[in-house]
Symmetry: C2
Subunit: 400 residues, 2 copies
C-alpha cells in the first residue's frame, strides 16, 4: 500500500509508539511528521513563536497590555509561553472549570471574561481567588450580590478576612450577547460592586465579539467606532461617580489594532493570534493583509483513507477533529485541492489533478481554532519536520 508512514522500526524515541493499542498519544518526541497518528492537532512551533513575538511587539507599540485569551487553546503550556516570551500580563478564561484547570497547572493571573451564575459555580470561583489573581465580569446586580455573599461565606469558613474578588462591569458594546444595556446601568452596577463587601470594582469589559469577524476594514471600523464611543462614555460616567476605572479590557485578534490605537482600552484579549485560523485569515486590514501579520501555526494533520475516483479523495478528519461552525477547513500547501464537505469522521476533498494517493498526509487549516482545539487531547509541536513537544490540552472539555 502506498503510505507516507515510516516503517515501524524507525523513530528517535523510546517507549510506546503512536498507534500502539491502548496508547492514544499521537506521537513521540523526535518522531517524523509521517509517524504522527492522524487526525492530530499540529503546532508549527516556528510560526507560533513568530506570532507571539509579533503580538508582543504590536501591544507594546500600541501601549496596551496583552491578556491572552486561553479559551482558544486551553493549554497551560501555551499560556505560559504567552506570558513569558509573548509578554502577556495574564490570561482570560471563559469558564470557571477552565480557569481552575489552568491555575492548577501553574497559571496565576486569570480574568474570567464571562458571566458566572449559580451558587456552587460562584463558590468555586471564589476559591480560585485564594490561589492567584482572579477577576470576573458581571452584568446584573443579582450576580454582584451573589459574588459578595460567596466571598463573605468563604471568609467566614476560612478565617481569611482579606479575601477579595475583583469584579468588572461587562457592557454590551454592540455584540448583542451579555452585558449591561446602557451607560446608566453600567454606572449603577459599578457602584453596586464598589459598595459590596468582599468585592473590588476592577474596571470595564467591552468586547465586541461580532466585530472581530467583519472582514471588510471600513465596515469593521464603523462597528467599532460606535462601540468605542460608548465605551469611552461609560468609562467617563463611572469616573464621574468618583470610581477609579483604570482598566478597560476587550478586543481580539480581528480588531485589536483599531481598539488598541483608539486609546480607550488598556488591555486586549486576543487569543487566535497565536495559532490563527481560516476565518481570521479572511479578515482584511487596509492594505489587504491578514490582521497583525499572523501566520497559520495550527493544523489538523490528516491522512487520505480513500481515493474512490479520479479527482476525489477522502481524509480521516471529520467533524470530531475539525470544527465546522466557521466554514470548511482550508487545505494548506497543496495548490488545487479543496475541502468540499465534512461528516462525522471524514472530510471530502476535490483533487482535480489527482495529487493525493492512499495514505498521503495533508495539513488542514481549521475554519475556527477555538472549538477545534477543544476536540483534541494533545498539541503536537513540530519543528524542522520532527516532533519537538507534546502539550496536553489542559482544559479540554472544561465547560462548567
Amino acid at each position: 500500500m502506498s503510505t507516507a508512514q515510516p516503517s515501524r522500526n524507525e523513530g528517535a524515541a523510546a517507549g510506546p509508539r503512536a498507534w500502539e493499542p491502548g496508547y492514544d498519544i499521537p506521537a513521540r518526541l523526535g518522531d517524523p511528521v509521517a509517524a504522527i497518528a492522524t487526525p492530530a492537532l499540529i503546532v508549527d512551533l516556528d510560526a507560533f513563536e513568530r506570532n507571539l513575538d509579533r503580538m508582543r511587539s504590536r501591544a507594546a507599540d500600541l501601549g496596551v497590555a496583552l491578556r491572552a485569551h486561553a479559551k482558544m487553546h486551553k493549554s497551560a503550556d501555551v499560556a505560559r509561553l504567552q506570558t513569558t516570551r509573548g509578554g502577556a500580563v495574564g490570561i482570560c478564561c471563559q469558564k470557571v472549570s477552565e480557569a481552575d484547570a489552568l491555575m492548577r497547572a501553574g497559571i496565576t493571573d486569570v480574568l474570567v471574561s464571562n458571566q458566572v451564575v449559580g451558587e456552587a459555580r460562584v463558590a468555586r470561583l471564589v476559591r480560585l481567588a485564594e490561589r492567584g489573581r482572579v477577576a470576573v465580569c458581571a452584568d446584573h446586580p443579582d450576580q454582584v450580590a451573589a459574588f459578595s455573599r460567596a466571598v463573605l461565606e468563604r471568609r467566614a469558613a476560612t478565617g481569611s478576612s482579606g479575601l477579595t474578588l475583583d469584579v468588572l462591569v461587562e457592557m454590551d458594546c454592540g455584540s448583542g450577547r451579555c452585558g449591561t444595556g446602557s451607560v446608566a446601568e453600567s454606572v449603577a452596577l459599578a457602584r453596586a460592586i464598589d459598595a459590596s463587601p468582599g468585592l473590588r470594582f476592577a474596571g470595564l469589559q467591552s468586547y465586541h465579539g461580532r466585530a472581530q469577524h467583519i472582514s471588510e476594514p471600513a465596515e469593521r471600523r464603523a462597528a467599532l467606532a460606535a462601540a468605542l464611543a460608548l465605551t469611552a462614555a461609560t468609562r467617563d460616567a463611572i469616573r464621574a461617580e468618583g470610581l477609579a476605572c483604570d482598566r478597560v479590557t476587550g478586543a481580539g485578534t480581528g480588531s485589536f489594532e483599531i481598539e488598541g490605537a483608539a486609546g480607550v482600552h488598556t488591555e486586549i484579549q486576543a487569543g487566535s493570534y497565536a495559532f490563527m485560523d481560516a476565518d481570521y485569515a479572511r479578515v482584511r486590514t487596509d492594505d489587504g493583509s491578514a490582521p497583525g501579520g499572523f501566520e497559520h501555526a495550527l493544523f489538523v494533520l490528516a491522512t487520505v483513507v480513500s481515493v474512490p475516483a479520479r479527482g476525489r479523495a477522502v481524509c480521516d478528519a471529520g467533524l470530531k477533529a475539525v470544527a465546522a461552525d466557521s466554514g470548511l477547513p482550508l487545505v494548506h500547501g497543496r495548490s488545487g485541492i479543496t475541502a468540499t464537505g465534512l461528516s462525522d469522521e471524514h472530510c471530502n476533498l476535490s483533487d482535480p489533478d489527482a495529487q493525493l494517493t492512499l495514505g498521503a498526509q495533508i495539513h488542514l487549516v481549521p475554519g475556527h481554532c477555538d472549538p477545534t482545539c477543544n476536540l483534541h487531547d494533545w498539541y503536537v509541536g513540530v519543528r524542522h519536520g520532527r516532533v519537538e513537544c507534546l502539550w496536553p490540552i489542559t482544559a479540554r472539555g472544561k465547560v462548567f
Copy 2:
C-alpha cells in the same frame, strides 16, 4: 440571586460534589437535576430505554440484525445496553482507537465500518482481532493487501496461525464518499479479499449516509430505491463468482425502515435511534411522524447566565457543549423560547414572554447528537428527576 440550585448542604450522596474545585464530574448519584453542573449531557433513562425497546422490536419485525453504531455515543455502557436489552448483535465503530477503547471496556463484537489506512493503524486493527470478533471495510485493493500483510506479520510474531480478519467490501451506493464505484470493482475487490491469506470475505457494506437526512419520505425513498437496486445487483454479482455474500450491512436511523423492508440488507447500523436529535426529528415518515417513533432522550442541560434585556437570555452551552453542524439546538419543553445563535461558550435565546430568569436551567436538544456527545466526558443518566447513573464517554476524542 435567583437560582434553581439547591443549597450546598442538600444532596443524597457522599463524596465530592459537582462544582467542587478540581472535580469535573457534573453530578453525583442521587443528586437532583438542579444540582447538576452545566452544561452537561443528560440522558432521560426512561426515554432511552423505550428507544432501545422500540428498535429491538422493529428490527425483529423487519427480520434484520441490529448492529448499533457506537460512533454516535462512544460509551461502553450505552453499547452494553444496546447489545443486551436492545438486542443488538454487536456494534459499529468508525475509528480503530474508538474500537480499541470500547473493546478494552468489554465490548467483543465490532465492525469498523470505515476505511483503515496506514501501516501502524492497520497493525493496531489486526491486534484488536485477537481480542474479539472484528471486521473492517475496504474499497481499494491496496488496503486488502495491507490487511493481509498485517495479519501475516502478526501471525509470524505471535505464532498464532489462526488469526484472521473479516473484511467487507464497502460500495458507494450514492453518498459520494468512500466505497467502490461499480459492480465490477466490488466483485474484483471481493475476489481479492477471498484470495488473500489471513483475510475472510465477510460481505458487503452499503451505507447511504446522505439519504438518512432527506426529510421528505418520497425523496428519501427515491434515493434509497436506486441504492438498493445497486446493492442487490452487487450482491448477486459477487455470489455469481461463487462467493458467499451473506451479510449486507448499512442503513441508519433515518432510513432503516425502508432498507429493512426491502430484503437486501441483513444488518442495520442505526446509532442515533438511542438518543435522537433535532435533525433526525425533522426526518418524516409517511404518516408525518419521526422515524421509528423514537423520542428525544439526550439533552444538553444549560443554565441561564445573562438576561441582558426583556425578551433575550443567554445560557452557558456554546459550540464547545453542543455541535452546530446540523443547525441550532431546540429548546425542549419551554414553549416560545428559541435558540438564535451559538458562540464558543454561549447560546443566545429569544424569550419573548420573559420566562427565563438568571440561574434557570433549560434542556437543549442538540442539532446533531454524534459530535455533541464527543464534546463531553460524562453522560448523566436521569430518572424521576434524580441522577441515577454516570457513564463515562469511553471513546471521547478517540479519532485515530
